[in-house]
């Protein structure tokens, strides 16, 4: 745990962790393990608040310390989750961008082949008619 994190209010750390994770999810990323860990910390913070209201400062401090530890871990893992989300977003964009020329080329090729087949059929039909006309003559 960093010295800064040790001094910070766990509620502030929870908001900081949430903001980081919200950015990951905004880019269509996903980090369910980190969200679960954040929720555990949020629950500890709520319990600490109740303990403080009851006047049990020792328990409140212990719970806050546990929450702080969980939150520091979450905050530490957010950059990796963010990188994964960025990479996944870039891959999706690249795949989608590549799919456009591939699908256009493929469908145009099929259309061209169909057109050629039709033209070939028309040419053969004409040739056949020419032979019949020649035979009649």
């Amino acid at each position: 745990m960093s010295a800064i994190a040790a001094q910070e209010d766990p509620q502030t750390l929870a908001y900081q962790a949430y903001t980081g994770l919200a950015n990951v999810y905004k880019e269509n990323g996903s980090a369910p393990d980190l969200v679960n860990k954040l929720n555990t910390a949020v629950e500890l913070i709520q319990q600490a608040k109740v303990a403080r209201t009851k006047g049990d400062l020792t328990l409140a401090t212990q719970l806050e310390e546990q929450a702080r530890t969980q939150l520091t871990e979450v905050i530490g893992q957010i950059p990796a989750a963010q990188r994964d989300a960025d990479l996944a977003a870039a891959n999706t964009m690249l795949t989608a961008t590549l799919l456009i020329p591939i699908s256009v080329s493929l469908s145009t090729l099929i259309f061209y082949a169909a057109l050629r087949t039709r033209r070939e059929y028309e040419r053969l039909k004409l040739y056949e008619m020419e032979i019949i006309e020649k035979n009649k003559a």
Partner: protein, 215 residues
């Protein structure tokens, strides 16, 4: 001869080009719609269910007059349809009939103090169910007024002048849905939808705490 047969006519070339243009437009549109779907309507929803997890049986023996140490079991629910990860706080307030409830027009929360709160981070489309078990542990009464001075919520005891009602009638729990707003770095009661409108969500449920309970 073969060379002539493989050559594409000017008319066919036009057909192929037009087909390729149409296919490009269709493929690009489909890709855009897939990558950037139309923003959905953004909202939170909240509700209170009774002891059986339905919209019934809110009070023991269906009697809204709650006696001392009479346990009441409800299930609170919050649904996140904001299309994003949300830090949600459900604030519980105890009011009487004359205290100001949250205002749907001005989007202001109730000015009453929060007596209890629940918090959780919800992913998009997640539903959060919260058991809410409470009982009145203590109350004081004068000639015309009943004041709840001891309340237990989920085995947490709250004491103090929590709320006072005329003859003990028409107390109400109010449940307000708040969320963390990263732009203001604070909890916010109202949220802005994609069309720029402000919305709030809250629920209330009434009960009596008269000194002579009806049996």
């Amino acid at each position: 001869m073969r060379k002539t047969r493989l050559r594409i006519s000017k008319q066919d070339l036009h057909y192929v080009i037009v087909f390729a243009i149409i296919t490009t437009i269709v493929a690009s549109s489909l890709t855009y719609v897939t990558l950037y779907p139309r923003p959905q309507e953004q909202f939170f929803a909240s509700w209170v269910l009774g002891a059986q997890g339905t919209t019934a049986d809110y009070y023991p023996n269906n009697n809204p007059t709650i006696g001392l140490r009479k346990e009441v079991t409800w299930t609170l629910g919050v649904y996140n349809h904001m299309g994003s990860l949300q830090y949600v706080v459900l604030r519980v307030k105890l009011l009487n009939s004359t205290m100001t409830a949250p205002n749907d027009t001005t989007d202001q929360p109730s000015q009453a103090a929060t007596i209890f709160e629940f918090a959780r981070v919800l992913v998009s489309n997640e539903t959060w169910s919260i058991p809410f078990v409470w009982e009145i542990q203590n109350r004081t009464s004068t000639k015309n007024e009943v004041t709840i001075t001891g309340l237990s919520i989920n085995q947490t005891t709250l004491t103090g002048q929590l709320a006072t009602a005329n003859s003990g009638y028409d107390f109400r729990f109010i449940f307000e849905v708040w969320h963390y707003d990263a732009t203001t770095s604070d909890l916010s009661f109202a949220w802005t939808t994609s069309d720029g409108q402000l919305h709030v969500v809250w629920t209330q449920i009434w009960f009596n705490a008269t000194v002579t309970t009806i049996r």
